[in-house]
Structure formats: C-alpha cells, structure tokens
C-alpha cells in the first residue's frame, strides 16, 4: 500500500515534469512569460479524457489527440498575440484570459460533464509515464541543441539583435509556443488517466503559476533545474502532509529561500553535465597544482 502511494507521487511528479519542460522551452529558453500554460494541460487532459470516456478511443491515440489539440490551441492564441514585435505582454494577458474562458467552457459543456468532472480509467501506467518523460526529455534536449534552440536563446537574450541576425521573431516564437503547448498537452492526457478523474478547477491559474514558478526557481535556460524543482514541488506537499495547515506556507517559504540564495534559479542556466564537468575541472586543477 505504501509502495503504491510513493509510486503514485513519483508518477505524478514525472507527469508534472513534462509540462514544466514545455514551459521551460517557452519561458526559460525563449524568454516569454505565460500565466496560462495550465490551459494547455487542461486541453490535453479533456481532449484525451473525452475521447476515452465517450468513444473508447485507444489510449495512445487519445494522448496524440490531446497533444494535437493543445498544439492547435497554441497556434490560435499565438498567431494574433505574438505578432507584436518586441512586446510579449500581449500574449501573457491573452493566455490568462484564455485559461479562464476555457474553465468556464469546461464547466458548462455537457460533453465534459461540467463542474462535476469526468471519471476516467486509470490507463497511465508506470511504463507510459516514464516512457513519455524520457521521450520528452530527449525531444527537448535535441530541439534545444539544434538551430531552433540557438534561435530561441538568441530571442531570449536580445530580440532586436536576434532579428538582425536574420531570425523571424514571430515564426520562431510561435514554434516555441506550439512545442511547449504540445508537451503540456501530453502531460495533461497522462495526468487525466493517472488520477482517473478530471475537473475544470484542476487547470486554473494556480497550476499555471506553479509551472512558471518551477521554471523560474529551477533556472531560466536550464532543462535539469526546472525538472528537479518540479519534482520537489510535487513531492514536498506530500511529504509535509502531516504538518497539515503549515504545508502551504512551507511550500511558499521554499520558493522564497530559493529566490534569495539562488536568484538565477537552482541551476542557473546550466545542466547537470555542466556541474559534473565543473567538478572534474576543479579536481584536475587541484592535482596540477
């Protein structure tokens, strides 16, 4: 029983990490803020959930449909709002409104069973979740090492200079948004079939803030930092469950402590291999001396 409890938390942390990877691409690497990425998680969750609940669509197809729906939603919000050259705040506000509108829609549609939510089958087994996480990590790493990663980071560092390096700001930002939305959609589809129940309130601004907080606390421009922090953020509330009402302040305190001692985030913009390399160089240097 206890094993199952720990495993469940682990799998939820893995699922959360997939969404955090998506936000990391968009916020950490492309430098655009979003207070509404939970909406993409929600679209993925509901698309996949509705498909398996009403039409018994096979689970893998439902995940793909969830990813596709989130990606399309990313295009729909991104095309009008990311046009503004140097202002990314239009997007931040538009996605905030979109998230709220989505919640209201989900609460009033009959196909989603309204605010009562949908009870689903528990289809996201360990293999699915861990496999999806590893695939997402490999995907993110390859994308960021490619020319697209170089263009994302150039835009984060200086949009004006990036444009004068021949980068189409609109198209590159839109690509970043769609990729991050697709990852969030995958996370949502897995989440829905892990907790086997979805409800509109699961995908509100609180969740968006948590995704963004994971990226900022983990390090803007790092894959491993946000991944580690998202794990802590999922596991910690469970570990602190005995403290009951002190749980949430403790959670907030952790965020404040990270921001005071590591304002650049847990990992800055480095990765675990960079740290290992740094340690190796330090040891070698000592031996030479």
């Amino acid at each position: 029983m206890y094993y199952y409890y720990v495993l469940n938390i682990f799998l939820l942390a893995c699922i959360n990490m997939i969404a955090v990877l998506g936000v990391s691409i968009f916020t950490g690497f492309t430098g655009l803020f979003s207070l509404g990425h939970a909406a993409f998680v929600g679209i993925g969750a509901y698309t996949a959930g509705v498909l398996t609940y009403h039409w018994y669509v096979p689970f893998p197809l439902a995940i793909l449909a969830g990813m596709l729906a989130s990606g399309i939603a990313g295009l729909v919000i991104g095309i009008p709002t990311l046009r503004a050259k140097l202002r990314s705040d239009y997007f931040a506000i538009a996605i905030l409104g979109f998230g709220e509108a989505l919640r209201v829609c989900l609460e009033n549609l009959s196909i989603t069973n309204g605010a009562r939510g949908l009870s689903l089958d528990e289809l996201s087994g360990s293999a699915w979740v861990v496999g999806a996480l590893l695939a997402s990590l490999a995907f993110t790493r390859s994308l960021l090492r490619s020319r697209f990663g170089a263009m994302f980071m150039a835009i984060r560092e200086d949009p004006v200079a990036a444009e004068m390096a021949g980068i189409n700001l609109f198209r590159t930002r839109l690509l970043s948004l769609v990729v991050s939305a697709v990852l969030c959609g995958a996370s949502g589809a897995l989440l829905a079939h892990r907790i086997a129940f979805i409800q509109p309130v699961m995908f509100t601004m609180t969740q968006s803030t948590q995704l963004l907080a994971s990226v900022i606390a983990g390090g803007m421009g790092s894959i491993s930092g946000p991944a580690i922090v998202s794990f802590i953020f999922t596991a910690l509330p469970e570990m602190l469950r005995k403290l009951e009402m002190y749980r949430l302040p403790a959670y907030g305190l952790l965020l404040v402590v990270i921001m005071i001692f590591r304002p650049q985030g847990l990992m800055g913009y480095r990765e675990i291999p960079d740290l290992l390399r740094g340690t190796r160089d330090l040891l070698l240097a000592r031996r030479v001396r």
Binding site: F139, S142, L143, R145, S146, R147, F148, A150, M151, M153, A154, E157, D158, V160, A161, A162, E163, M164, A165, G166, I167, N168, L169, L175, V179, G221, Y269
Partner: protein, 260 residues
C-alpha cells in the same frame, strides 16, 4: 567609377513634429567604405534603423543592388544582404562567443524542426559547418581564443569585435557599423580601422560606417557623407570633406581651432 550597391533616395522619417531624417539621398559604392558623420542628433543611427527595417520611412526608398529594401522586415533585410552592429553593444550576453557568431548562420540553415529533433545527419552536418564557418570568421578577426567564453565576460573592445564577427556571419553584401570605435583610445581605434579594412578585403563587403573618431573616418573611408539635422550637408572624398567650408564650420570647426 564603382557601382552604387546601396542607394538611399529621398529618405525621410518624421517623429511627431521632428524630421529626424529629411529627404536624404546618398550611395554606398561597392567595395568601398562610406563614412556617415554628423553632430550628435543628426539622425545617423535613424538612417541605419530605416535601412534595416527597424523603422519604416515616412517617405523615400532604400535599394540594395536594385532591389527595394523599404518595407521589408529586419530579418528579410538581413537575408537580402545587409548586416549591422549596434551603437550600444547588443550581444547574446549569456551565450558563448562562438554561439553568438554561429546563430546567424544557423538562422539561415534550412533543416526543419523534425530533422532537428531526430538529429538527422543533414542537421548535424549543417551545425558542424556553421560552427566551422563561425570559427573561421573569429580567426579572421583575431578573437578565436575567446570562442568558449561567455560573451558578457569579454573586455569591451573584444565585444565590439565579436559584434562585427556576428554581423559578418550573416554573409552580408553591406555591413553597417554604428560607432564601432566608441569608447576606444587612439591605439584601439587604429587597430579597429585595420580590422575593418581587413573585413572589407577578406569578406568582400561594402561598409557604411557611423563614427565620431573623425581621424578614423578620414583615414579609412573612400567616401564621406555628412549629415546635419537629418539632412545631407555634404558628400565627397575625405579630401573634399576636409576642405569643405560648410562641413568645417558645422562639424570640424572647433577641432581646427584647437589645433591652431
């Protein structure tokens, strides 16, 4: 006579009631260094912003080798063959120097997102070629030893050179340099002049140079355009400009008296 590569015709930009650039016309000849000088606020940087598509002109046109640049987005202007540096250095600060120079080359590479994620051989070879080309440009400018440094950790003069390297990585026909010698002493300025001349020879670019170090301009430019209050005051060879009474009065006057 060399052919005009960059043609500016009747270029005008009005901000509110101020005519920052006022029906300005000049040519930048192929293979030459054209100096753009004038007192502070004469509208020189605005001309660069109009050429590169950062601002849209109120009137007038800019043509590169006969093709219109006016109305193009900055990234299209870069693709057409115009690159620039910035008055206040704008590097990709938290990336390495090599990555800074590689970025414009990768921005032109043709492989798509799917090839990128699958890391296909063609994507890998495009990335390798970009790194090699970027390193070669850095070698040419003598900054290859900084390749793995974070750009923001470079000394000031090197950051300026790195910006020139990044601009050259766009494979431009015309390179716009906005006060590349700002904040440099005479020795550094002289060295920069040599770098600019070498870039001209090795990369076959035509240069348009905004600079306040008047000696550098008179030294290396083949043609000088003088602006005052947005309008053309004079143009000609450095020799003509030195002797032009209007220019001497508006711009060089005080310096002459200092020397006397």
């Amino acid at each position: 006579m060399m052919a005009a590569l960059l043609e500016v015709r009747g270029l005008t930009r009005v901000f509110g009631g101020i005519r920052a650039v006022d029906s300005l016309s000049f040519d930048a000849h192929e293979g030459g260094i054209t100096g753009l000088i004038g007192p502070n606020g004469a509208g020189k940087t605005t001309v660069f912003n109009l050429i590169t598509g950062v601002y849209r002109p109120t009137a007038g046109t800019v043509c590169l080798a006969g093709g219109r640049l006016t109305g193009c987005r900055p990234d299209d202007v870069v693709r057409a063959g115009v690159a620039r540096t910035f008055q206040n250095i704008r590097l990709f600060a938290r990336r390495t120097c090599l990555e800074n120079v590689t970025t414009p080359i990768l921005a032109r590479a043709s492989y798509g997102p799917i090839a990128a994620v699958l890391r296909t051989p063609s994507a890998r070879s495009a990335e390798r070629a970009a790194r090699e080309k970027a390193f070669a440009i850095m070698e040419e400018l003598g900054i290859e030893r900084f390749a793995s440094f974070q750009a923001s950790n470079l000394p000031y003069g090197m950051q300026r050179k790195l910006e020139i390297a990044r601009a050259l990585a766009c494979s431009p026909k015309v390179l716009l340099l906005d006060e590349p010698a700002a904040g440099m002493n005479d020795a550094e300025t002289h060295e920069l002049g040599e770098t600019i001349k070498r870039a001209l020879e090795d990369f076959g670019v035509t240069i348009l140079l905004i600079e306040h170090h008047i000696n550098l301009v008179l030294d290396i430019c083949t043609h000088v355009v003088v602006m005052e209050r947005g309008a053309l005051l004079a143009h000609g060879t450095p020799g003509d400009i030195r002797e032009n009474p209007a220019v001497v009065e508006a711009y060089l006057g005080r310096r002459r008296r200092d020397r006397a």
